[in-house]
């Protein structure tokens, strides 16, 4: 009897984290090198080459939709003039519910990092997007490590969106370079990105052409049109198998 109780307790422990706390979310094709998907509670960097900022923004919106939960989006005042303000109508068409978004406009990088730390202490958030323009000495190894630690502690994912900047330190879980990709001639206009995984802690890098499907909130591989399963997470059955093996 006690053995059975113990088993139930173990099962509970295994099954409990399958709601919000899944460790990785699927991105479709790149899952293969990402050990199953984008890791939650980690720092992911997205770089945009000049004039491809909108594409990088779209990719980050896609990641935020995949991660789920409320999003704190931190931007610098002057960047909004250069790259445009986030449009609720556009976000909604991409599948990110505008009601889930908290926008914070900060004057400088120091405030942005400070606010990000505040956001990362709030476990109810799904993701914190930090949008930074240009290089900054404040974004050093220490700042990165602080973000990584805070993210790991609360399980909130940091998406660092960087415009007109070069990658410097390598602390991020993944680093992506995102460009806009010309649409196939027939159905043009859907968000298609040429993404390059430049840094990946879990495995090798790679490049893909991904299409964001606004209707079901999935990244699809645009070259083949293949759908990659939405649930890249481990199934409860696999967990059960682990227990019986143990």
């Amino acid at each position: 009897m006690t053995g059975a109780m113990e088993k139930i307790a173990t099962l509970r422990a295994v099954l409990a984290p399958t709601g919000r706390a899944q460790r990785r979310v699927s991105l479709g094709r790149p899952d293969g090198v990402l050990a199953g998907g984008l890791r939650r509670g980690a720092l992911h960097e997205v770089f945009a080459p000049p004039s491809h900022e909108a594409a990088a923004t779209g990719f980050v919106v896609g990641l935020a939709v995949r991660l789920g939960g409320p999003v704190l989006w931190i931007t610098q005042d002057y960047a909004l003039l250069e790259h445009g303000v986030q449009a609720a109508t556009g976000l909604q068409e991409l599948g990110l519910d505008p009601a889930r978004l908290i926008l914070l406009r900060v004057p400088d990088v120091t405030s942005a990092l400070r606010a990000a730390m505040d956001g990362l202490s709030c476990a109810a958030l799904g993701a914190v997007v930090i949008e930074l323009s240009g290089e900054s000495k404040l974004l050093d190894l220490v700042a990165y490590r602080k973000l990584v630690l805070a993210a790991g502690e609360s399980g909130v994912t940091v998406l660092l969106l960087r415009f007109s900047a070069q990658p410097s330190v390598g602390v991020a879980e993944t680093r992506w370079q995102v460009r806009a990709q010309p649409s196939p001639s027939s159905h043009w206009g859907k968000p298609i990105f040429a993404v390059e995984l430049q840094r990946n802690r879990a495995g090798p890098g790679g490049s893909w052409v991904l299409e964001w499907s606004c209707d079901d909130g999935l990244f699809r591989s645009a070259d083949r049109g293949a759908v990659v399963s939405a649930s890249g997470e481990r199934s409860p059955a696999a967990a059960l198998a682990d227990i019986s093996a143990a």
Partner: protein, 443 residues
């Protein structure tokens, strides 16, 4: 006395012009400081009036209070004359003529009787008339019959006399509005350590929480008032997005605010009184312990918004709300998240299923674009060759709103979605069939 005769008497006399504005400012600052003795402080043109009813026992009686007030003001470098009486007018007169007097209850008339009629602060013409009639002391005026005085000097003078004698009472009108809740802590020794001040705020927030809970309310706006030992006062205000009374949360908000102050709180020689006031309160449901996890999450998000607003200002923490209009730049608004009421409107999508996005991800202030021959356009100095285009989508301005406000005016716009050779997607419009503008970019 004229200046010349004053100089004749004392040749060493220093003369300077009166600065009324500075005097008024100083008096205002003093009034703020006196707030630590009684919440009812009123500005008298030449002094301050404090209603200490009900607060004198906190200082060990009226005499001790008066002495403490005088000593503290003297310490700040002021010459003080003060008196305590049953009515404000009597106290004002006695402060001029009998410094330090405390009139027992009901004895205002006796105390005033010996003063010259000038003490009544009547109009100069009336004072002169009384003197001419031989009424040189207040007691002599008070002895005359009311009918006689009214007939000669009018009802206003009589009511003024009655006020001074304590027979009638006009309440003083306090300078600051009284907050519905206030708690405070006084220190025997001034404190200057920030951690200790925050701990005090937390403790006071605990007291405040009890008061609020009794009436089922929560605070939306709070103010911490720091009284410095040398008389300076600093007020720090915070606001919350939803009524709250959790001491830990309130303390955290104050911590954020203190950390983000442009000119930090200067303790100088220390603060001797810290007060916490709830300026604005709202009904607040008692928080049950078995809230669902989504409600807990929502609460945490609210607290995050409050914290960010305390640090960066509420105008920087924004949330989206839909608007009932088809004008693209007005279809949504980013409003301060702390005050944003839930909207009844739903978010409507222009895009139908399986379609590409119809509205841009990032919206710009419309920027002029020059169209070049051969399906090309120049924006920000770069020439883009158009590979795909879709449009026009005509968006007419709202003429019915143009009548009432300035928002709806302007010519109709024909919008186009364009994609260039690199796959960058733009949203352009043509105005009046001639001028082109770029209004946004798609992912």
């Amino acid at each position: 006395m004229a200046l010349a005769s004053a100089r004749a008497r004392g040749p060493a006399l220093k003369v300077m012009a009166a600065n009324e504005a500075a005097d008024a400012k100083l008096l205002g600052r003093l009034a703020d400081w006196c707030d630590s003795f009684s919440p009812f402080v009123a500005l008298d043109p030449q002094g301050l009036l404090l209603d200490v009813t009900g607060s004198s026992h906190l200082f060990g009686g009226e005499l001790a209070m008066l002495e403490r007030l005088r000593a503290a003001l003297k310490h700040q470098g002021f010459a003080v004359t003060a008196a305590l009486a049953g009515s404000a007018t009597a106290a004002r007169a006695l402060a001029r003529y009998c410094d330090g007097l405390i009139v027992p209850p009901g004895a205002d008339q006796a105390a005033m009787a010996g003063l010259p009629v000038e003490a009544l602060a009547l109009e100069p013409a009336i004072t002169q008339a009384l003197r001419r009639a031989g009424l040189k002391k207040v007691g002599q005026v008070a002895a005359r019959s009311r009918a006689e005085l009214t007939a000669r000097f009018g009802a206003a003078m009589v009511s003024q006399l009655d006020n001074a004698l304590g027979k009638a009472e006009i309440p003083i009108s306090p300078r600051l509005k009284l907050p519905p809740y206030r708690v405070e802590r006084r220190f025997a020794e001034p404190v200057a350590i920030e951690d200790f001040m925050l701990a005090t705020i937390k403790q006071l927030a605990g007291h405040l929480a009890k008061l609020l809970e009794e009436r089922g309310e929560g605070a939306r706006a709070l103010e911490a008032v720091f009284f410095r030992a040398d008389g300076a006062i600093r007020r720090i205000a915070i606001e919350t997005g939803a009524p709250s009374r959790d001491p830990a949360i309130l303390e955290r908000l104050f911590r954020e605010k203190l950390g983000a102050l442009a000119d930090p709180l200067d303790p100088g020689f220390g603060f001797d009184l810290i007060r916490l006031e709830a300026l604005h309160t709202e009904a607040c449901r008692s928080e049950a312990n078995d809230l669902g996890s989504s409600a807990v999450d929502e609460k945490e998000i609210r607290h995050l918004i409050d914290r960010l607003a305390a640090r960066f200002g509420s105008h920087r923490v924004l949330a989206f709300r839909p608007n009932d209009t088809h004008i693209p730049e007005n279809a949504f608004a980013a409003v301060p998240a702390q005050y944003a009421p839930a909207s009844k409107l739903a978010w409507e999508s222009v895009r139908s299923p399986q379609e590409a996005p119809q509205r841009p991800l990032r919206l710009m202030i419309p920027e002029p674009v020059s169209m070049l021959p051969g399906m090309r356009f120049r924006w920000r100095g770069v020439v883009h060759a158009v590979r795909h285009r879709e449009g026009p989508e005509r968006i007419a301005m709202e003429w019915w709103r143009a009548l009432s406000d300035s928002k709806g005016g302007g010519p109709a716009r024909d919008y186009f979605r364009l994609e260039d050779e690199e796959g960058r997607r733009f949203w352009l419009y043509r105005e009046n069939g001639a001028r082109w503008f770029l209004h946004g970019v798609f992912a």
